[in-house]
Symmetry: C2
Subunit: 95 residues, 2 copies
Amino acid sequence: MIGVVATLKVQDGKQSEFEAIFADLTKQVRANEPGNLAYQLTKSRTDPTVYKVLELYKDEAALKAHGGSDYFKAAGAKMGPCMGGRPEIEYLDGV
Amino acid sequence: MIGVVATLKVQDGKQSEFEAIFADLTKQVRANEPGNLAYQLTKSRTDPTVYKVLELYKDEAALKAHGGSDYFKAAGAKMGPCMGGRPEIEYLDGV
């Protein structure tokens, strides 16, 4: 099991656009990735421009399948103009 | 939906004891909390004394049921002697 916490900083005013793109991505993840066990977009309660994605994968292969998918790459490109900084991705090992 | 990222700092050498207590807690959560949607202990890849719990709850009532349970309180008391600092708990709103 692998956990991921992805912290995404969005430009103020771009939240709705970002959330719509992310909703499409989430649908694709759930439809195509049996090795993805959780994929949930959340937002900070203290900073309206900060989102965190809580993710769980069965194993390293499942994580690679996610990052290597065409829809993930396409979503990343679409989100680009909404972002207010580089994403911070923390990888964690399940216990 | 509510997300939680709980960062737990453990004393070096106490990892096994901590993980055993946490495994019992996880079993109780899964057996007793229909409103808990994910509860996964993970460990840092860079600091062997840092753990993160990735948690998802259906709603605020489910989060309260978790924190108010006798087994959660008992686990907290058991973990106390293993800990190397105060836990940092971040609450996030599902999108």
